[in-house]
């Protein structure tokens, strides 16, 4: 009779849960994956699971024994802090008297209680009580077959207490027809099964001196399921499953776990700001929330929430993300060579996944306040709707409370002090075990209104009434169905509104745009080694726009002088943007160590009237398949980005433009160094063609063309210590050069966002007793700027126009900054309290963000920006 106690999730649950949430690849540089709620609390002190001290033998049900029946009963045991079993619940019954026998026996178990640090705590565990008529005997059996062509299931067996690999452990794998394959672990504790058909398997694991283990695993087509089993010495019985993920369809998909997102110093736990610590991501100036990916402009990167495009990423351009970290399941970040499922941009992709509501049948909540905002979150089951659960959250900034008197004191008339809101509400269910359905709404709203009585000295047009309101909302429905092991379908539909109301003096910009978005993908695996993905990506956005603004200069153009002295161009336009796209992508696994992903995407843009065809191909090859894994990867592909609104506008732009075009090349290697440490090195090159540029015409405006060119070349390194119970951290370094060549002279000039060196070193360590300490250091090349070589007096404005030197020919000094963070958590019986102190720019360096000039541009100095900024937050959670 086997006795196995499981961790918080059974293998089957882990599999299906992951599937529901969408598998998030992580290989090497991997995907962003937020640990599921059931995983150990990232900020907790080390938890020692309960150890059984008295085992009660159940009586074998006579009827079942007579009938020759065997069974496993899954029990949920509540164990108090004295180690007594206070409740037994059958979560997976077996019938035939097994459930009752197991329950009675389990009630008589005794445990050494679980501990957090040294403090005994109550615990709930899943326990598998196995009934078998035959005691399995571990056999030292070698795999009888030669090395198989591919690995379907592989992993490592380790001793839980010492965390050492276990050699010679026996693993028996049975399919649903009872056919068994037996292997044993090698000296490094690893094992593998190859050539398995998709389906569910029973895995039995045994090693002398250790508790045997039985688990059910699912083999998914074209997926290598990677497992780590930790065997307890006899008398214990908690195990932890770690499921490997499918290799990505992209060359690179970066991974951050939730603990990392929350604890990176200097980010205040902000989800999207944490991305700025990854290689290939530039440092935006000051508090700006710009995503500068591999030398591309911020507008070359799109951000999605569960596949739905969102127009804004940050409140007020950088104050905080529009979705709080607590709502997140994952963030997928693709710095280049992304899959054909994404398009319309030449830079990168950020796809934020909102997490599912907690499904443990209880209600949970959270309240947090810091110096910027306060937030609430509540989740749990929906009464009277069996199988449905909800999660709802909201956030409001309260900077208006203290900023209004500051602004008033500074002489501004404050009609509405700056304030932002965001909100998220979802309900979710699983119609079947293989499908999930979620509907919800999320949105963001920022607003302020001031009367600026002191116009700006360099452009007095920037004065008077300043009104700003930006916002959007999306109603969203997500459906996913793994129809069979070979056929899967997912769909998202959203409808919402984007709006901007901006007015300053006599200038304004207003847009209303209802947005209808739809993404569908069907995946089919006709045979082993090939999976086909076909998808639609539809975007329809009627819009009404009112603009009154002089045409602003483009990056690198000489200053046209103060805005106020030029009569603004006005535009009232009502039209619709229609951008459908379709794609086809194949995942080809010709061998166990090679994956090739060719894809083709076709985009149509109504505003240009043209279709763009984007072939792409990515590949990964494992030079060394087992630990320490060595993988080379690479890709090449075409990426199109339609012109910006103002570039095709009848007033501000020109007709006849085509999309900007970029060819992405990348080549890299991923290397496991130790179990927790790996390194990835990747070189990239982006050849930019047909970039929209402009030349002045004789009619007071500009003629836009596609004559711009450019390139970005660089390399990035990520040396990462993956999160464990104590520590996480990494070193990220990027070297790159981003240049552009524009008509009429096509002189090569550095691009506005070029940053030659970007170095980030960070780490966070749990000290115990609820304390955690983190530090981050950044060293980044200074921002480029166009020097002023003089000034010309604009008599109409009463201000000077800058006489510009060579565009982006100067760089401010290096940026370097140290940030520290301390967290402290207290756990109470039914809730936790957490505080943090996040200190940015600890040594108070006046980091240069640009160059400021006097009124006539005859004097200049490098302008420091943010001083030391401490931020304090408090969160209560139940």
């Amino acid at each position: 009779m086997w006795l196995v106690a499981l961790g918080a999730a059974t293998p089957a649950q882990a599999q299906s849960g992951s599937s529901d949430q969408g598998a998030v690849p992580s290989g090497g540089a991997g995907a962003v994956r937020v640990a599921p709620k059931a995983a150990p609390e990232p900020d907790a002190q080390p938890v020692t699971p309960p150890k059984i001290t008295h085992f009660e033998q159940a009586s074998y049900p006579a009827e079942a024994q007579k009938a020759g029946l065997e069974a496993n009963v899954i029990l949920r045991l509540d164990i108090d802090k004295d180690g007594k079993v206070t409740a037994v619940t059958v979560t997976e019954p077996a019938g035939h008297g097994f459930d009752e026998a197991a329950t009675e026996a389990a009630k008589k178990f005794s445990f050494e209680p679980a501990r957090r640090g040294t403090t005994p705590i109550a615990a709930r565990i899943h326990y598998r009580y196995g009934f078998t008529l035959k005691v399995a005997t571990p056999e030292e059996t070698q795999a009888a077959t030669p090395p198989p062509p591919s690995d379907s299931l592989r992993g490592t067996v380790r001793a839980a207490d010492a965390d050492l690999p276990l050699a010679g452990a026996t693993i028996e794998l049975k399919n649903d027809r009872g056919e068994a394959t037996v292997v044993s672990t090698s000296v490094d504790g690893t094992f593998k099964f190859a050539g398995l058909l998709p389906g569910r398997y029973k895995l039995s694991l045994a090693s002398a001196g250790f508790e045997p283990l039985v688990a059910e695993e699912e083999v998914v087509a074209d997926t290598v399921t990677e497992l780590v089993y930790r065997l307890k010495t006899k008398g214990a019985g908690i195990e932890v499953f770690v499921k490997g993920d499918r290799p990505p369809r992209e060359v690179t998909r970066r991974t951050l776990e939730k603990r990392e997102i929350e604890r990176i110093p200097g980010t205040n736990g902000d989800a999207l700001r944490s991305l700025q610590n990854l290689p290939g991501v530039g440092r935006p100036p000051g508090l700006a929330g710009l995503l500068i990916i591999r030398g591309s402009a911020p507008q070359d990167t799109n951000t999605f929430v569960d596949g739905t495009y969102v127009p804004l990423v940050y409140h007020f351009g950088g104050l905080s993300s529009i979705i709080p970290t607590e709502m997140l399941e994952k963030i997928d970040f693709y710095p280049g060579n992304f899959s054909a499922q994404y398009g319309r941009v030449m830079g990168g992709i950020v796809d934020v996944g909102v997490r599912s509501p907690n499904k443990d049948g209880k209600y949970h909540g959270l309240a947090q306040i810091d110096l910027i905002d306060g937030r609430l979150l509540l989740e749990g089951p929906i009464p009277l709707l069996k199988g449905w659960s909800f999660i709802v959250g909201g956030r409001r900034s309260w900077v208006d409370v203290w900023l209004k008197p500051v602004l008033t004191e500074a002489g501004a008339g404050v009609t509405a002090a700056p304030v932002y809101y965001d909100y998220q509400a979802y309900i979710e269910t699983k119609p079947t075990s293989r499908s999930s359905f979620r509907v919800g709404v999320f949105g963001s709203d920022d607003r302020l209104e001031l009367l600026i009585r002191d116009p700006a000295a360099n452009d007095p047009g920037f004065g008077g009434n300043l009104a700003l309101r930006t916002g959007f909302y999306r109603f969203q429905a997500l459906y996913r169905n793994d129809i069979s092991d070979n056929l899967k379908f997912s769909s998202s539909v959203s409808y919402g509104l984007d709006r901007i109301d901006f007015g300053l003096g006599t200038f304004f910009f207003r847009i209303r745009s209802p947005v209808l978005l739809n993404r569908d993908e069907i995946s089919y695996r006709p045979f082993s080694g090939l999976t086909l993905h076909a998808g639609l990506d539809l975007a329809y956005a009627p819009y009404e726009v009112d603009v009154r603004f002089p045409p602003p200069p483009r990056p690198g153009e000489p200053s046209p002088g103060p805005f106020v002295s030029r009569p603004p161009s006005t535009l009232h336009d009502k039209d619709a943007a229609w951008r459908p796209a379709a794609y086809l992508e194949a995942e080809i696994n010709p061998g166990y160590n090679l994956k090739v992903v060719p894809g083709l995407r076709v985009d149509y843009a109504r505003d240009t009237g043209k279709a763009d065809v984007s072939p792409r191909i990515n590949a990964r090859y494992d030079i060394h398949h087992d630990f320490p894994r060595t993988t080379v990867k690479g890709g090449v592909g075409l990426y199109y980005q339609p012109p910006q609104f103002q570039e095709t506008s009848p007033v501000f732009g020109s007709r006849g433009l085509v999309s900007n075009r970029a060819t992405h090349y990348s080549l890299g290697v991923e290397q496991e160094l130790t179990r927790p440490i790996d390194v990835s090195v990747e070189g990239f090159y982006k050849d930019l063609h047909s970039l929209v540029a402009r030349l002045p015409n004789e009619f007071g405006n500009f003629d836009y063309n596609n004559l711009g060119k450019g390139y970005v070349v660089g390399a990035e390194v990520l040396l990462k210590y993956k999160p464990d119970e104590r520590f996480f951290g990494w070193l990220a370094y990027t070297v790159s050069r981003s240049a552009r060549q524009n008509p009429p002279d096509y002189a090569t000039q550095l691009f506005q966002y070029d940053q030659t060196h970007i170095l980030t070193l960070l780490g966070s360590y749990r000290l115990g007793r609820g304390w955690e300490f983190g530090a981050r250091f950044r060293l980044v090349s200074g921002s480029l700027y166009t020097p002023a070589v003089g000034g010309v007096f604009d008599a109409d404005a009463g201000a000077y126009a800058q006489v510009s030197g060579a565009p982006f020919s100067r760089r401010v000094p290096f940026f370097h900054q140290l940030d520290l963070r301390v967290d402290k958590q207290w756990r109470f019986s039914s809730w936790t309290l957490r505080t943090y102190l996040d200190v940015q720019n600890v040594y108070n360096r006046s980091n240069p963000e640009g160059v400021t000039y006097n009124y006539d541009y005859s004097q200049s100095r490098v302008q420091g920006f943010l001083p030391i900024i401490p931020s304090l937050g408090v969160r209560g959670e139940f």
Binding site: Q299, L451, I452, P460, P552, P567, D796
Partner: protein, 371 residues
Amino acid sequence: MRSLRWKGMALLALSATAALGCGGAGFDPQEKIKGLRILAVEKDKPYPAPGDDVELKLLYWDGKSTETDRRKIQVGFVTCAPNPPADLYYNCRPVLSSTSLQVGPQAAGAADAGTDAATGDSDADADAANGNAGGGGVGDSDHTHTYRVKIPAESDVPPNILHKAAEGPDYGLVYVLYAVCAGTLEFKPDQRTNEPPIGCVDGDKKLGPGDFVTGYTSIYVYRERRNANPILDDLKLNGISLKGSTALDEKDLPKVPRCKGGDCGLDIEVNVSEESAEPDPSAKNPDGRPLQEQIWAAYYTTSGGFKSSLRLVNDATTGRNTQQSTKYDVPSEPGPVRIWSVVHDNRGGVAWIEGRIMIVDMVDMIADRDL
């Protein structure tokens, strides 16, 4: 959808421009005139019609001169050919020639300037159609200069002065470049930046900020659209009118006790007639509500300073700013001081008013007149 992103970038860029573009502590303040400065160019017709004559009056001041010892200042003008590409002032350079720079008589004191003011008007006329300037204008005081531009009449033969706008009435644009120089002006056609092609030398020495200023003003031409300059009624310091004070002898100037520390700010405000805020027929907000002109006042002085050197007078949306006064920070050094307020509207309208005061020790003030 993409528009929001573009707009976000634009807002951020504007914010960054406003934050980093200019100003900041540690620099010479804009309002304090320490060297040669141009303060304003007033056009008698901010929006002329084709064929109109436009008179430009340039106001400058040399902070390196004293009331009694003035440097000789040379003033030059260049009229560009109409309608430069993209309406950009620096695009007028290609049509210039070496004869384009017309240098007016040097002003070196009120008496001399008065003599030079007799220069014939016809020589000062510029023919904007050919990209040539007329004479260098006339020096009509010791720190103003007048120049006239002839706007081409409409023609059936291209290029017409007026061309179609993407939206709104047909318009034309003539830029006038100008320079003031405490040396000798020279034409520099090989400038490679967006700097006007004018230089200033003193012998072999190239003069720069403080001794040499270049600038431009734009003349937008419409068939029917007109604009008037702001109307300034007075300039008041602590309620005392400074209007007409420039004509007073020093002994008769309003006296202000010099600052000996502490708060030495006095209320100062230019009185702008309410009718100055004209409706802007080209401007309606997205809801269709008409907008007024945006009007602001800039303050300058030869000594002391201002709490705010630019103040909003009228907002296009909310109307008149009821808190438009600012503080004049009285200097600690006794002596005569000039104060200007230059008032602009956002359609090329400009007007200024000038005042003089005498900073004195308290004893002098008690003995004489007060403020």
